[in-house]
């Protein structure tokens, strides 16, 4: 029950959620809801794992994982952007498809030990008391990548020209279209970006945070939690980061609660009867719902909503009235 260990581990688990949440956030900012995160993460986890196994190169594994997630997301892009299919159902089908394909190709990967992404310290920063051991010591390189992704995503969305176009195509695509912004192409692109980040999130599990391939248990619903976090984050990368790390720490802290025989001087019921642990395992899922309730109330107060065109297919030349 050492807080430093919990926070340290929480940042690592939180990095998985961070990649997935920011990827989904970017896709949703472009006006496309992709519920297939879980499928894209599984495919990424499987592809990264097997590539690293085959080539002994975990970095190549990351690249392949991102491309695999991105490739699967393009299927979603095609049916939602061009065929104007319902984004919810398409996203669900992507979950099945990704899960199924990952299981088919992941057959026999369980128990293998490919090289993983190295764990490093950040020189200098690691020696800061308290902060260093939590944030900058003994972390996978991907955790540090996550740190960089947060401000980068925020800056990109709010302070750059492509980010402005991204916001425009999710809020009012016809306005962007009439000014010569290619709504279709950009929507494909950001669906792809979201898919790549989901693939990366999957590989972050299988090659860094908890290395291994455990079939569908590899992600165990984290893709869905990430979708909840996007709403909680109100489509803002900074809030997404807070949510992701918080959830990471919670997931981790909950597991650690089962360890010690006594808690605060009392007998630990979880230690005596491990079956109570089932209730502990429920907490991330219940907390996701609670986070949504809190997020919804805050959003209602500030009148912040989803991107206005989220989930709505854009059809040029569809004549109203």
């Amino acid at each position: 029950m050492d807080p430093i260990i919990i926070l340290h581990a929480g940042l690592a688990t939180g990095t998985v959620l961070l990649f997935a949440t920011i990827g989904e956030l970017i896709t949703e900012r472009a006006g496309i809801l992709n519920l297939g995160l879980e499928g894209m993460m599984l495919i990424g986890a499987m592809a990264g794992f097997s590539t690293s196994l085959a080539t002994n190169n975990p970095w190549l594994g990351l690249v392949v994982a991102m491309l695999a997630g991105g490739a699967l997301s393009m299927a979603h892009g095609l049916v939602t952007i061009h065929f104007q299919a319902d984004q919810v159902v398409s996203g669900l089908s992507l979950t099945f498809l990704g899960t199924g394909i990952a299981m088919v190709f992941g057959e026999g990967l369980t128990g293998q030990n490919p090289p993983t992404i190295p764990v490093i310290d950040i020189p200098g920063l690691a020696s800061i008391p308290w902060v260093g051991p939590v944030f900058f010591e003994n972390h996978s390189v991907l955790v540090y990548v996550g740190y960089l992704l947060i401000p980068a995503a925020w800056y990109f969305i709010h302070k750059t020209r492509p980010g402005m176009h991204l916001r425009a195509i999710g809020e009012k695509p016809e306005a962007a279209d009439t000014m010569g912004v290619n709504v279709y192409r950009l929507r494909y692109f950001y669906v792809f970006v979201g898919g790549c980040l989901a693939g990366l999130a999957g590989a972050t599990i299988s090659l860094a945070v908890s290395p291994g391939w455990y079939s569908v248990q590899t992600t165990s619903g984290q893709g869905w939690i990430a979708i909840g976090l996007v709403i909680f984050a109100q489509w803002d990368p900074l809030r997404a980061a807070v949510g992701s790390y918080l959830f990471g720490a919670l997931r981790r802290g909950i597991l650690d609660l089962q360890g010690p025989p006594t808690l605060f001087g009392l007998t630990n019921p979880l230690y005596v009867n491990s079956n109570w642990g089932f209730f502990l395992q429920m907490t991330p899922y219940i907390l996701t719902i609670l986070a949504l309730v809190l997020g919804a109330r805050a959003a209602a107060k500030k009148r912040i909503g989803a991107p206005a065109a989220l989930g709505v297919p854009y059809i040029r030349g569809e004549r109203g009235l």
């Binding site: 302070k159 750059t160 020209r161 492509p162 980010g163 402005m164 176009h165 916001r167 425009a168 809020e171 009012k172 016809e174 306005a175 962007a176 279209d177 009439t178 000014m179 010569g180 912004v181 290619n182 009148r303 206005a308 040029r316 030349g317 004549r319 109203g320 009235l321």
Partner: protein, 504 residues
Amino acid sequence: MTNAVEMQNVTVRFPGVLANDQVNLTLKQGEIHALLGENGAGKSTLMNVLAGLYKQSSGTLKVHGQPVSFNSPKDAIAQGIGMIHQHFMLVPTQTVTENILLGLDDPGFALNLPRYDQKVLDLQAQFGLHVDPAAKIWQLSVGEQQRVEILKVLYRGADILIMDEPTAVLAPQEIDELMNTMRSMVALGKSIIFISHKLHEVTAVADKVTVLRKGVVTAEGISAKGLTPAKLAQLMVGREVVFSVKKKAQEPGDVVLSVNDIHAENNKGVPALRGLSLDVRSGEILGIAGVTGNGQSELAEVITGLRSCTGRVIINDEEIANRPPIRAIESGVGHIPEDRSKVGTAPNLSITRNTIMKSYRHEPIGNGWTINFVKARQEARQLKDKYAILAPSVKTPARNLSGGNLQKVILAREISTRPKLLVAMQPTRGLDVGAIEAVQTLLLEQREAGAAILLISEELEELLSLSDRIAVISHGKIMGVMPVEEADVNKIGLMMVGSETVNN
């Protein structure tokens, strides 16, 4: 003078529709050219071709004498063509400057908004179009949003401006301001195509006129001077138009609707109704005149129970305010909503299922737990015949109907319940002349049958010809109520911008 734009034999086809048929249009340098036509005549389509949004099926475009081919709005912008759309193409959550920069290559990667805010301010000074560059669009008034639209095309260095019904959303005084802007832009070397269907605006500002009817040019580049309303109407409609709906004199009965000191917020949480009061009697039409966005939508929604408010709304002695909408429906309120496809109908349900939206709870359609769909289809067929709804059958989904036919479905449904109060919001907007007449006649029939009618419209002429009394709304208040005999456009226009109060 050279020709800024030449469109030759332009034809545009949509599935099942010939929107433009062999259209010619020539815009001279430094000219304001009015493009007239009824709704659905193909004006917007033609201009969308010129703006690069649609591609013509055949025909050629020339800009400054050079043949051009546009594959996207970007190509048109590169040729100096900018379009100011009727429905503003602005991103509500972004700032004025961001909207102006949308789609441009400069700025590069980083936005650096303050620098561009300054450039926008410089441009504003040049043309006298002022609006805070750092403001978010949703915070701006309609007139200001239109200025942003104009600034957007000027920023791109457009010298050919297309304005699609720019006056439709403005108050008379704002229209004057806009016309001054147009004149000064032409003085600075711009050329303007100006879409309208209002004659007095055309004669006030345009040099030349081209008229479209059902996608075909009926007058090409004739001089705007000396055009008479009759001549123009004939060109637009193809026959002499006499606004033939005639209202019978009749004494109004008891008060059906009484609205007392209501306050309500709009969807953004900004007060939209501030202490509004009015009465409507049975057998009378009360017309509500006003510039869009002064509380009309909210008023209609409060009366029909769709929006919460403070104050009292009494219909036939029953309090309706802040009750669920079903209370208003059950006490005999019919409602022709502003947005016929988003609110008035369910697009994927059949005509039958759309016509029973209000009547399915009661005999003969509703029957305890069940709905008698055989009966419902019979009634729908009768309504389809009676209201001349053009559709293959009553099983056709609503989304396949044209705007006019959709409106007829709504009217048929709302009127067939014999409402004691009918709230009609923009009932003729976007309809062709034939359909307008039909709708207006139906409203007058309801008046004769003793219904109280609240008619909310942007068309002053419509209000003047249908209403018994006219109330003018501005900033969520009634500025004054007058019998139609005492009403005239100037008086109403001044009250619309809130500068004069006349009490009856």
